[in-house]
Symmetry: C2
Subunit: 266 residues, 2 copies
């Protein structure tokens, strides 16, 4: 019984398959973090996950000079399919982008799609940096998967390649949309009534514009897509990262994984 | 008709009554901001609000050496009562606290209550700093009111003084709560069925614990209150500021001001 063992507080994403008794090499950064930041010793239990094999309890068996090895012991949680919405967003300035990324992971976005729009401030997106942030946030919030970060694409190209039978909800700052909760409730009713959607996973995307909003021709272009629905996020003007977190929260509450019974934790 | 006038882009909170034709002195900071940061000249239109008289179009009539005067012209929006929930939160570290404050304003919290708990990291809260942030966020997001920031109080004292007929929803990280959306829907049904609540405004508070969560005896204490309901924010561990924004989003969507038809903007 794992309850009698001391609780594992550290939680790391690993890039290897996890099997009972299997030894897994940590990265130099992870080894450094455990040894010098958290000051852990061999024999200490941690949690590991790889996005495929669930979450495991593992014991540090070697830890010195930026080399760390952990040995997997018992599976603590089975892998689950974390089927959150895709978050499409126009890159914003550094600190606010960091925040948006961290929060999108916490809020259960399944993948992140930077989109380039007329008013997008930052064309250059450092994907390696975002990827590291995504992993850190996933470790922290106890997710079992790491959301994928797609390469930035132009809004028009992204729309042109969007699968027709999937839904795209875009935050329309001009006020043309219905309240997000109403739209999601209708979507839930529609999905439930569709035989196809019980077999194929339906992709939903939440689309957040840049600071300054979409350009008028961009809004027209999105609205013309048969799969796109404009939504409203209330009477106040929200910053891009606020809109992203808020839309994800309402999504998870209305049709996402917040509707299930919560996990009980000690 | 205001449509024919150039759009006022700057929006400032002022501490004076606003009457048509009335002259209003700006603070030295506001004057400096308009003159040297935004590089505006006398004759430029801005928007002003004071939390009581709605939102007004005003023209800068004097602006030099940290002295600025604007003249109120026409009311653009009538004052409304922004009846959002109270957000009670344990102060967290600087950058994350800044974020929480800004987002709480954008999400329509009616007031902010710092609460001191067993695991609260920061005992000292600089209210003057938070107040400046609240005003800036309110100007930015087009609110008509400025949320009040209460003095920090101990959780136990705050609970002891909470009005019995008001509701308190607290985010229970141990997983003991029902999904927040379910709880809010029940609350909405209950409030609608109560004759008293049609006369008296019902105060709702959302309570977010510190990083590390409430202590077990704090959770017991909150749960014992007849006005307190534990809620769940899904299967992931959310940081305190994420929980605050997410809970406010679901609140506004389920029973708050996001349910009304959105404001149309150009």
């Amino acid at each position: 019984m794992t309850e009698e063992l001391p609780r594992a507080r550290q939680r790391l994403f690993v890039h290897h398959a996890i099997l009972p008794g299997g030894e897994i090499a940590l990265s130099p950064e992870q080894s450094h973090y455990l040894e010098h930041v958290m000051r852990l010793k061999p024999g200490t239990a941690i949690k590991i996950f790889n996005g495929l094999d669930g979450e495991w309890r593992a014991t540090i068996t070697e830890l010195r000079k930026k080399t760390g090895i952990v040995t997997a012991e018992t599976r603590l949680r089975e892998q689950v399919f974390e089927n959150g919405p895709i978050l499409a967003f126009a890159p914003i300035k550094k600190q606010r982008l960091d925040f948006l990324i961290e929060k999108a992971v916490e809020m259960g976005a399944s993948s992140l799609q930077p989109i380039l729009t007329a008013h997008t401030i930052t064309g250059k997106v450092r994907l390696d940096r975002l990827h590291a942030q995504v992993i850190e946030a996933a470790e922290q919030c106890e997710r079992l998967t790491i959301p994928e970060i797609h390469h930035p694409v132009k809004l028009s190209d992204w729309l042109a390649n969007w699968p027709e039978n999937s839904h795209l909800l875009f935050c329309d700052e001009t006020g043309g949309g219905s309240p997000i909760g109403d739209v999601l409730s209708r979507l839930l009713a529609k999905d439930a009534g569709s035989a196809i959607d019980n077999v194929n996973v339906v992709n939903h995307a939440l689309v957040i514009g840049p600071e300054g909003g979409f350009a008028p021709d961009e809004i027209d272009r999105i609205k013309r897509q048969p799969f796109a629905t404009p939504i409203s996020l209330g009477p106040r003007i929200l910053r891009a990262e606020t809109a992203a977190i808020a839309a994800l929260a309402v999504y998870q509450d209305r049709i996402g994984d917040w509707t299930a019974r919560p996990v009980t934790r000690d």
